[in-house]
Assembly symmetry: C5
Homo-oligomer: 354 residues x 5
């Protein structure tokens, strides 16, 4: 079971079909690997950078062990770690490969969780955080160094940290909660952006570009929603994990994290609908303006077209046009024209077009 | 379990990710805290403002205790209360934080319910009511003082109040039912507003602003629907709560409250569809009017365009245009023009454009 | 359990929130109450108007008792009846209040069913029929006197009525089946109306008002569908009721009634889609006609605009326009104009616009 | 149970509500009834037309009996048959009434299946086939004589027919499979029709009528899909029937028939989407052409409108218009006009309108 | 059970309804049949082309046997194979018939799986791969020779192949995983094509044909999604197969393959939405441009129409038009025209049309 079978990076941009599984091949853009250890119990905290993994393995069972692996370049060391802690090869392959979907999977000897945390402003960019939860340890894998897990570390180091009195399942919760919380600024940034646009659109000062902006925002909220929904499914699966790995009390905390998440999802859903509504509103406004433009054209044309014809008629050069010679010809013609115009305008007004 | 861990306000506008949980931080806009006690049984009612909480705790088991906390400013006192009654810290944090979603959560020693009641006319504004239901007590938390729970208090005080003969689960039901009922005026106000607009639209007297109004109403009904659906889910969860906290008879009453709620949801759903239908109708009407406008323009233009050309033709100043010199030139030209116009009009009529 | 608690009419247009439940308040528009009794068994039928309720209660167990209450004005008598037969107060309140949704609810001592039957032509108007099914009785509540239950009464009175050999569950089925059947004429009237409109639309003789008509019909079918779906859910719930109240054989009959209902729902669904399809068809037809109108305008305008310009050009009064003086000026000008027109028309034809 | 209660024809165009159930009333258009018998076992086949039903009943248990009833006019004989074989009255009523939905219902002593087979080209026309499956018999009811069941009869008669070695459940499967197969030509005819239209639309040679045709085809596919989905549900129900009536091996065959059906449903679903896609494509094409038409009009008008104005200006008859008298007036005017036209055309080109 | 009953090819373009099942009829376009054998265990691999099937049957139980049948022309040999290995006739019929949907079916003695692999660029073209998984063997059927299963063969032959140490269930997984992987290039090709078009559309350099291209891509993604969803359902069914045929460890690998598949489905879903979004964007852009075109026409027309009328007015040939004779007539007329134009332009500017 622990043979490192089938470890080729299964990215969507994957290898040729059916290639024999071999050793863990590093991704070309993988960052340098850095392993840090944090071991704690009710009494104290020990930290180490690049610890000797065999010794860590031997010390299992004394306190909670948190191994954090940042950067995926050194596949040899990752494989050593996986072998020592009995991590399932398929899970290790997923941890090393970015572009995984959020998920929680039960393996015989550990839980495996993949989540994604925001990276920059656009929901298209996320960084993967993988987490192995065993009986005595938590092992995390991250693509880059330095990130949203620092506050968790601070809470463990802090004297007042209640986290030290709990097991690895609570540590896993704390890490996942930190990931969930890291979406808050993202949701708010986009929400604030939408609010600005809403003001513009409702005030009628938006230019045509607003259609693109709103469509882009709507797509962004849709993507964000999908990300959060994936995270939600993943936490739900964890709440249904076996009691031996995730205790009842920790599950209460997970429910709380889920509640946060659902509030964010509600917000994002609401924003997405708002964006769609604003788009409809703007388009209806533009169409209405266009209708007004067309009506003016119609009224103008329709009034002047017969008048111009009459002017053209009396501008003809026929030798014998008796009405042209009479002194009252011109005033009568002008009166006739005015009459036609007045009749047409009244007709428009009766049909409520002007 | 009862350590007040992780009590930072988890609003959507939350703290930085991963901050260590500490003491209950009051929201900047929190109102001053006021605690009132109501203790009753079949025989009588005792009331107290700002009661000594330790004594209240000691008296648990004698009659039903209702502690109502209004305003969230005094976090120290709230924490004392939570400690004495064994309220779960995560639930207390949610109770103190506004902007929660409606939900019912089972904790080992109590049920925790959050609902939202209308605040003003717009479904965007709601006030949060939280409720802890224990074996012998109900503890409610509200953001502002004075509200829809007064009638419940009156019913307890009233001699005829059957409510006094029942347990805390019935009290919790009575409170939730009052919250559900507080939505009725809201639903009716918006329904009446829609009915007015419907009359205008169907009579054809609506101006363009009606599109905005209908779109806004539709969004409002959608928001209202979501609020009521949240309340519905929450009451459903309560009906499935363990029998030890919510008795079978009270569940019958909850089913009744749910039935009310579903009727409101039906009404709101119907209103939302009506708003959408009216919007479509109005737009189709406007489009149809536009089509008429365009047809008139087309007919006018198409009839006069060739006539004007002819007039222009005979208005040219070529020296040798023999037809201009003949005495019958002008009458023949006029007849020709009338003929063209008549032919075109007949053609339009045959195609049923006019 | 039998205390008449909480009996205020809970209409959607309800009382102020949280009002103490008291006595059964009659609706302002409630009709006068009239109670009729029908008691039957295999041997015979007894009927009575305004029977002495206490005696009816004592006779329970001898044959099937059907108490029919028409009109809700006399709340005192209704309360007496409810007390004698142990009807649950919440159910009685729902029975007395109109505007309930169709539903089937199990109470400890009886089933409670609310259904709606058509009242007039428009699915917006329905009358409520409530039904209590106990071990030995059926009690029905109706808003108005005289209605679709008469045929059921006739079948009981008739010598050949097999209904007399069965229990109250079969009576309840017979009543509900009569309600279901009362929708048939409604469905058919609207279906026939749609068929007429379909003929008009497909023949192209429909005027603009057809858009409103179709939209109204579609809404009506949607409302009808919702009504029938509510009835369907209600009968489904009955089929899952405990065997002690509804026997296996009666459930076979209920399945048959459900089958009828589903056929009606299919029909209504089909009609709704037909209405939507006709709407789309009509709008596409109107748009196509508009396109034709626009094309004619364009071709006319585009052909004559340059010709008119040329005519205007040679109508200018410049002293020195040599071409005007030559004798071949006019014929050449006419030829040129004809050439331009021919070239444009050929271009249009090549692009297949005419 | 076997009393022929409630046998009025429950068509959608049904009797008045609540009419007492009586004898089986024949439909006005019902065909003459013809009963044929086929009895077979591993050894041989016996056939009879209009057999003596009482004898058939007595011979139950010796081989498989297939009674086929074609035409519903002779309700007396049908009732005799129903009585002898203990067919449930409600099921017999459904079998005699056309316009039933496909369904499979379990009765205490037999299964009852209704399916519909195509009748002509339009999915609006189907014929009903009803089937009773008992322990030793299959009884089928059909509206017309002669149909898709003949091949099944041939297979039974054929010496090589493995069908003879199996029980009545396999016969029922064979009949239903024949019904399923009878949809194949239908699906293919419509598919081929769609393919023709697709070619026309994509080649751009389709005229306006194609919108109607596609809309009609789409509705037809929708109807076909609903028919097949009903058949699918019905076969699914059969697969979950009790093992005593439908054996495990026959269920494997039913799964196979379901697989056929789902492939047809996939095909129909695909065709429906294709029709919708073609409709959108055609409309987008027509709109695009209209846009081109409008652009040409706009460019023409916009270029010539100022030129015509200038021509009109210099065609005015004011006595003192000095520019008219100079010899260079005309050439300058022409140059000016050419300049205006060139500038406008360049502006259009810059905006990429031409 | 093993009688080869009912083996006619059940293609959608199937035989006439109800034809008696007989021998396996080869499809007209079926390729020549070629059977290859691969037998392996932990120690070694034996391969054979066109092995003697009886001997293979006798050797069952010694190592894992993989029989690969390519080309379906020789139905006699296929029937012999089916008979020897006890393959169910219905499954064999499906294996031989192309155009099956992806599915996994449990038969008493083996699992039967049908999947489809890409064939060329267009998701409309796929090749069928069928797989029988028994206790000791895997039998695959393919329409053409040479394909995506070669890598699996290589892995078995390779010395390092861990696959040799596992049972037939892992072999089946490896084959299905190869099929899943064979979709990757397809997904990527279409994704890349979409990315190109996205660039064009967003840069505004797309011509009208892009609407067709996007609609075609969207349909293609929809088809691809349906294919992958079918594959997904099929693998899900396999994961729920009985433990005796598919072991727990192999199910972990299947979960991994499902994870790949879901990532592809996510990608395809995302692409489909992108295509739809681009289509909307392009159409909105085209509409906006059209609006601009119309506005220019309107402004031009509306400004010049009254001016042209005035010019025509003073171009009339009435004998007595006093203003024409005064020397200031012309300048005043020009000023008046300029004034009208200026006033109209200001009015347009005030309404923000220009």
């Amino acid at each position: 079971m622990h043979t490192p079978a089938r470890l080729r990076p299964k990215r969507l941009h994957g290898n040729a079909a059916g290639v024999a599984p071999g050793t863990l091949q590093p991704h070309a853009e993988a960052k340098e690997t850095r392993v840090t250890l944090l071991r704690y119990d009710g009494e104290g905290v020990t930290e180490a950078v690049e610890p000797e993994l065999v010794k860590v393995r031997e010390g299992l069972g004394h306190g909670v062990i948190w191994l954090d692996v940042q950067g995926m370049a050194d596949t040899r060391r990752i494989q050593e770690l996986a072998g020592l802690f009995g991590l399932h090869p398929l899970a290790v392959e997923d941890a090393v490969t970015s572009h995984q979907r959020a998920k929680a999977e039960a393996y015989p000897e550990h839980l495996f969780v993949v989540v994604r945390q925001p990276d920059g402003d656009d929901p298209a960019n996320t960084e993967q955080v993988s987490l192995f939860l065993g009986a005595h340890y938590v092992i995390t894998f991250q693509e880059h160094a330095g990130d949203c897990l620092d506050p968790v570390r601070e809470r463990i180091r802090g004297a007042a940290g209640r986290i030290r009195k709990r097991g690895p399942d609570y540590l896993a919760y704390a890490i996942l909660d930190a990931v969930v919380d890291s979406y808050f600024p993202w949701v708010e940034t986009n929400d604030a952006h939408l609010a600005e646009i809403e003001d513009e659109v409702l005030a009628g000062t938006a230019n045509h570009g607003v259609i693109d902006t709103l469509a882009r925002l709507r797509r962004r909220f849709a993507r964000l929603r999908r990300l959060l929904a994936g995270l939600n499914d993943c936490l739900e699966d964890l709440r249904e994990a076996e009691a031996s790995l995730v205790g009842a009390e920790t599950k209460v905390y997970l429910r709380d994290a889920l509640d946060h998440l659902r509030r964010m999802i509600d917000q994002v859903e609401h924003d997405r609908e708002t964006a769609a509504g604003l788009l409809d509103y703007h388009i209806s406004r533009v169409n209405h303006e266009m209708n007004d433009v067309m009506k003016v054209l119609t009224v103008m044309s329709t009034v002047f077209i017969p008048l111009s014809f009459l002017a053209g008629l009396w501008g003809m050069n026929f030798a014998s046009m008796p009405e042209l010679q009479t002194p009252w010809g011109y005033p009568v013609a002008l009166t006739l024209m005015a009459g036609v115009a007045a009749w047409l305008l009244r007709w428009f007004r009766r049909r409520r077009w002007i």
